[in-house]
Symmetry: C2
Subunit: 288 residues, 2 copies
DNA sequence: AGCTCTTATGAATCATTGA
DNA sequence: GTCAATGATTCATAAGAGC
């Protein structure tokens, strides 16, 4: 039993208890070869990932040149598409870097190329990073947002909009202060929109659907490993695009944030990473 | 003479009083033909505009099909580039519409095409619309953000970052840091030229640079014109990319929000619109 | 528990220097 | 020339210490 969602999520807790505990699989290797070998076609309900950005993290992943990014990504997207269920979704967290004083276009190119590969570009969510990296330059301000591209293979993908509804009005802030005992609730308050669907019923107050702008802080001061996104981010999309018992895949799993989120929510998960070191890290983190 | 900040109201008022009152020119017609005929090459310091979106506002503008959007836009961008000063900027407010359940790619295509035309894609600001249009759909949430694309023709465009500084998030921290002698020394040394120094002396560290995410509510459209952007939006970019006395152009002026903002800030402005009815509207609005 | 205050740090970017 | 490495810049947040 790995879930501990916002305080009195009684119904959800019962549901999860009735299910077998969520499975977690970790594969070491490149997702391009691992995926077709180790994952059944059409068995994945949601892919959430933050791939290595172009020319970033060179010390860890070897770095992909911006001009080569699309050709590096496409064959991997192809195997991911085969693994995804017809009603599944693919959430891609990415942002183009600045090259020679202007934004590089590889993300734009990638969107176009993925569409040609058969993906539907359903929407682009905006992740507003409330605590973006500081710095000052003569020609730009701090970059405070990233793209969360939502792709699907069919028009009728699964979407559970009620599961991410947010309380309306001042009630939210007042209530959260009372509930701030646990880390989980703190995470939810950080997200500002991570409430489960049952909590709204439990409290019996008004709630509304969120928008396609997510306000979340990057995780700060965590251990020595690079944390891609805050756990609230995969949480939000897992609630939105899967049911308990579904399978979630992160083909560039890194420190395993997606797997943690999935397990907390009673979803099975698979993580893949090219670095054995990160696979070990994930296993350690999951034990907690 | 060229400095200008939100904090320096007194100085600003004096400056503006010393200048002749801002000029406003309104031209009726298509900017593609009006611009080369009526605007001197290189005379414009900033272009801020929200062009008719694809297939939107059909009743007013005739509507451009999404698939034809880029070819419609490009010749107009060409004349705008000729009108823009070498140190000028071009702010394009745009968002792709949903066609057949997915985002259309004409904005991505447009960015690519503008780069091929010689524009530099400096950055993409995110306009977070705090009060986005209500609605509910089975496969997406409310669209709560739009793109504010920043293009320039040269690497060393004009940018007055001090003019849009915002109060620091935590006032207590700012005040405390003010007491630290080392911090004051750091401020003075890093401020560099002219105005930065004055800010450091005057308001200490109570102001910080903003990010590339703008939080602004939409305004109800000015009577008779479909809702464009709030006046605070062009204001922000006019402060950021021009000095008093500079020339601001809106080639799709609509209800004239950009002209109002420019005049309020002591900048000269030019508005162009294909509809005589809107030109009349602008003239009325400017009298106020 | 609830404050206040301190400190460390995070998918960053540009200018400069040296090979 | 081009390219790679280094230093300087900067702020919202979490965690931790102290009361």
């Amino acid at each position: 039993m790995t879930t501990h969602t916002a305080a009195a999520d009684i119904t959800e807790t019962k549901q999860l208890a009735a299910l077998s505990p969520p499975q977690i699989k970790i594969f070491h290797g490149d997702c391009q070869s691992v995926t077709p070998r180790s994952i059944d076609a059409g068995s994945i309900d949601l892919i959430v990932t933050s791939p290595p950005y172009a020319d970033q993290r060179r010390s860890n992943y070897g770095g992909i040149h911006p001009d080569k990014y699309v050709e590096w990504f496409l064959p991997r997207a192809e195997v991911l598409r085969a693994a995804l269920s017809p009603t599944g979704s693919f959430i891609l967290n990415i942002k183009e870097k600045v090259v020679d004083g202007e934004r590089h276009t590889y993300v734009l190119d990638l969107i176009q190329a993925l569409r040609e590969q058969g993906w539907r570009w359903v929407d682009e969510y905006c992740w507003h990073k409330k605590n973006s990296y500081p710095g000052k330059w003569p020609n730009r301000f701090r970059d405070s947002w990233e793209r969360l591209l939502h792709f699907a293979v069919s028009k009728n993908f699964k979407m559970r909009q009620e599961s991410v509804m947010v309380p309306t009005g001042d009630w939210k802030n007042a209530r959260l202060r009372n509930l701030s005992a646990t880390d989980q609730v703190r995470d939810l308050s950080k997200a500002g929109n991570g409430f489960g669907k049952r909590i709204a019923n439990w409290v019996g107050r008004e709630y509304a659907y969120p928008t396609n702008v997510l306000h979340m802080s990057t995780e700060c001061g965590y251990k020595g490993h690079p944390a891609a996104f805050p756990v609230a981010l995969p949480q939000w999309f897992i609630r939105l695009f899967t049911d308990p018992g579904d399978w979630v895949l992160d083909p560039f799993a890194g420190s395993g944030t997606t797997l943690v989120a999935a397990s907390q929510l009673g979803r099975n998960s698979i993580g893949i990473d090219t670095l054995e070191e990160y696979c070990d890290l994930m296993r350690e983190r999951i034990v907690e």
